[in-house]
């Protein structure tokens, strides 16, 4: 019996493609339905006052609130973009300061053993102190201005940046170091030509972590010691009992955090274009 295997194969292929697509659509629709359902339940629960409106506001109201905040200063005395600018400025300043100081420090500590040995004890003392704990000292020394908040952000970003940079340069492939050495490179040349590029992926991992923590820190710092910024806005929402303002603040911060780490990833993909794509 002669069978037409060409045809059987072609049929099997189409069947398999169909099955795969069906699966994909199934899981995608589950995800979409869940998100929509959550929003809907939330909206209806508020609309029919199943939950107290003192504690919740509906998604539509929150979005309205965000739009309203663009042109209204009430009740916290600032427009949305002013708050965003105030927070973002501090976050980026502290973040970049930590990068400028932390990356070289991590590199030197990772490469030069003496440097590691000297700095490590002091670093280990500072390392486990969360950035918020620095607030009293920073306020005392620098007041409650932009610089003070930037320094608080800095303390949080700094540790993550140093640690990741350190791990990165420490994991430099020994073979690549040997290549440079046999080519007659000095220790410093090897550091620049091999160590630093090898550490790059981990440096960016560290920057992403520190960017994430920076947005958390800024909210707390602004709640505690500031008269503007998104954290302040949320805190005011709390004081005036306006739930929609709190929720609006949370959402805006989430979006900003997302954009910021997206920016870091963007820089990463440009700088590290030599890395294999996943």
């Amino acid at each position: 019996m002669e069978m037409d295997y060409e045809k059987i194969r072609a049929e099997a292929r189409t069947a398999e493609i169909k099955a795969i697509q069906k699966q994909k659509i199934k899981y995608l629709s589950i995800s979409v339905i869940v998100i929509l359902a959550v929003l809907l339940v939330w909206q209806l629960a508020v609309q029919f006052e199943l939950v107290s409106t003192r504690f919740f506001d509906s998604p539509i109201a929150v979005i309205q609130r965000i739009i309203e905040k663009i042109s209204s200063k009430k009740p916290d005395g600032g427009l949305l973009h002013q708050h965003i600018w105030a927070s973002a400025k501090v976050v980026w300043f502290g973040f970049l300061l930590a990068a400028v100081i932390g990356i070289p420090l991590g590199l030197f500590m990772g490469w030069y053993h003496l440097c590691d040995r000297i700095i490590r004890p002091l670093f280990e003392i500072i390392r486990p102190i969360p950035s918020l704990a620095w607030i009293p000292i920073v306020i005392l020394l620098l007041g409650i201005g932009v610089e003070a908040r930037s320094v608080i952000i800095f303390t949080g970003c700094f540790v993550a940046t140093v640690l990741n940079t350190y791990t990165g340069i420490r994991s430099t492939n020994q073979t690549l170091i040997n290549v440079a050495k046999t080519c007659g490179a000095s220790n410093f040349q090897t550091f620049v030509k091999i160590g630093i590029p090898s550490a790059m992926p981990m440096i960016f991992a560290g920057l992403k972590t520190s960017m994430g923590s920076a947005w958390g820190t800024i909210v707390a710092a602004e709640m505690l010691a500031s008269s503007n910024g998104l954290g302040y806005m949320i805190q005011m929402g709390r004081s005036f009992g306006e739930v929609s303002l709190i929720m609006a603040g949370i959402i805006v911060i989430g979006i900003l955090g997302f954009i910021s780490s997206g920016l870091v990833s963007l820089v990463e993909s440009v700088v590290l274009k030599w890395r294999p794509k996943k």
Binding site: N173, V179, A180, T182, G184, P276
Partner: protein, 246 residues
């Protein structure tokens, strides 16, 4: 001036009380192709690292052109077993890497890079990064980088270890071609006896740990060699028996 390009005298290396190298003695003539074979775990890596001055010997000395070997002064070049192209450099940047470290003049680097790219047929992928290449092509880049520096001594540590026969034969012929073209002095380490007999002017056979040069075998067979010729097989079996542990 000495007759030999490289002279190794009474080379010893101990790690604590563990003797790894013991009285290694051999010479390499200018432009010679030497293969080193030895049983697995015989201290091969230490042997190489000592030769390239990555670790200092416990006693004994390595002379290049009659002077003590120094990677800053002499041109030593190393092809490692694992792929060692810099992942962040393109193919042409990788080839120029060693020359730049040696501060060659810019135009000389450029012409030399072109020459090597041409010789190895890598012109097509000159702008590519290593992760975009196959393992064998990456190894070609590394070999090109090593030859480009016109080294006094080129050390190759089993560069074709994991490759299949066909690719290996091809790359072996390639290395012979480069060697002839550029007149380098090559020390090639391998686990594969057939490969050693195919490539070498002379084969150095290492003993078990602590390693020393057990036998220095000159192979006078015309190239390209026929791996099925009785003379070739005789030499191959001879070397194999000298190191066989399995």
């Amino acid at each position: 001036m000495s007759d030999y390009k490289v002279e190794v005298r009474d080379l010893c290396k101990n790690f604590g009380s563990l003797e790894v190298l013991k009285n290694c003695n051999f010479n390499i003539k200018r432009g010679e192709f030497i293969c080193v074979v030895g049983p697995t775990g015989c201290g091969k890596t230490t042997f190489l690292n000592t030769l390239t001055c990555l670790i200092p010997p416990t006693s004994g000395e390595i002379l290049i052109d009659g002077e003590k070997a120094d990677p800053k002064k002499h041109n030593l070049s190393f092809v490692f077993q694992e792929p060692s192209a810099m992942p962040w450099l393109t193919v042409e940047e990788n080839i120029a890497f060693g020359m730049e470290l040696k501060h060659w003049p810019k135009d000389k680097i450029k012409t030399q890079t072109e020459k090597i790219l041409e010789l190895m047929g890598l012109t097509k992928c000159r702008k590519q990064y290593p992760h975009e290449l196959s393992v064998s092509t990456e190894q070609k880049v590394v070999i090109g980088r090593a030859f480009a520096m016109e080294p006094d001594l080129l050390l190759m540590d089993e560069p074709y270890g994991q490759m299949d026969i066909k690719t290996r034969f091809y790359l072996e012929d390639e290395v012979i071609r480069l060697w002839k073209e550029l007149g380098s002095t090559v020390l090639f380490i391998t686990h594969n006896v057939e490969e050693a007999c195919y490539l070498a002017d002379r084969v150095l056979i290492l003993s078990n740990k602590p390693a020393c040069v057990k036998e220095d075998l000159t192979l006078e067979m015309p190239r390209p060699r026929d791996i099925a010729a009785p003379e070739f097989i005789e030499k191959r079996v001879h070397v194999e028996n000298a190191i066989k542990w399995w």
